[in-house]
Symmetry: C2
Subunit: 211 residues, 2 copies
């Protein structure tokens, strides 16, 4: 779909501020073709849905509607509304009978992923989901170097809580290489993250058996 929601910094970055620079960059990046991480994940989810492998959707951006016009013989028009902060993560769905829940974030940094990309309510939501047996993770992209990692929510929560104690405000890429899973671009799906989820399911099963 061609509809774009303003989803924070990356939207302005692509569409307005650095329009020309973005086009230049494309020549050097064979993988992403100027797509945002959100677009790439939506395309991946469409592909998974088409192949009946999983049903995963991005939740709509929550909007607080203030005024609506109802013109005769045509669709209702929202005349005043504001963006609200979501109380959950952006993506969820079902795969192999499991509930999947994740958030996707990008950074222009090269060496570490800033934790300020997340909010307390998202961390809380992930903790709640984990208690119910969800498979919960984040997809992190370093947009400058085009590296993508999948990190389980349990690790993210650890880093999040540690920043209060030790003051480390970002996750070094070396930690992601150690505790996360590197994702490589494919054709369809573009980001084949379910392959890592298969591994997470197997891991959870063997841990359960060893208990």
């Amino acid at each position: 779909m061609a509809i774009k929601y303003p989803n924070g910094k990356s939207y302005f970055h692509n569409a307005e501020k650095q329009g020309k620079k973005q086009t230049k960059k494309k020549d050097f990046s064979f993988s992403k073709r100027g797509m945002t991480l959100e677009e790439e994940l939506n395309e991946s989810n469409d592909s998974y849905l088409a192949f009946e492998r999983a049903v995963i959707h991005k939740k709509p951006t929550p909007i607080q509607i203030v005024s609506v016009d109802y013109p005769k013989r045509s669709a209702a028009v929202i005349k005043e509304a504001y963006f609200r902060q979501a109380s959950t993560t952006d993506y969820n769905g079902v795969y192999r009978g499991f509930y999947l829940d994740f958030e996707a974030k990008e950074t222009k940094n090269k060496l570490s992923f800033p934790l300020k990309n997340f909010h307390q309510h998202q961390i809380t939501h992930m903790q709640q989901c984990l208690k119910q047996g969800a498979i919960c993770f984040v997809v992190l992209r370093f947009s400058t170097t085009d590296q993508i990692f999948l990190l389980e929510a349990a690790f993210l929560i650890d880093y999040w809580e540690n920043q209060m104690k030790e003051g480390r405000k970002s996750i070094p890429i070396s930690e992601l290489e150690k505790n996360g899973y590197k994702l490589y671009y494919g054709l369809s799906p573009r980001i084949p993250y379910l392959d890592v989820v298969d591994h997470l399911i197997d891991k959870a099963r063997s841990e359960k058996q060893n208990q």
Copy 2:
């Protein structure tokens, strides 16, 4: 939360057209206190979340944004937007490790539930979810008589497909009494639908063992 989305007929019904009649009705209904089914389910989900029993949220209404103002030093204002049709059902989440997915609908009818309350894309979404092992159902309320039923998606899909062949455009209440589960109002949660889900999980397990 006090924010109300226009969610089809019931919104206008409550807020504008029949404001006074609604107040009158309240005196005779001890159960619902003039709440819409959506409000009752949201309250039930809040209760389930607070008691750490499940994480289930209503998805935001999808909006197509056409124009946004960015005033200096204040929040972005959406100046023109339209309601879009959702591609999924309204509610999903995780409970006991299972993926739950459902839609909630009300009718003023007394004896049967009109199938026109559903759309093909919702039926398709439910079919896709069932293939992935989701627990999928609809919550149907007869608002005049204050009766609520939970009906498994498999039955709804049957009725939906039969209407093309036999022309029956609604589900008689007798069929809901036979194939569905009647839900009774509680205090917290107001609509204790997870008790039926527990039963569905047990049923699925024993069916699996007997295979």
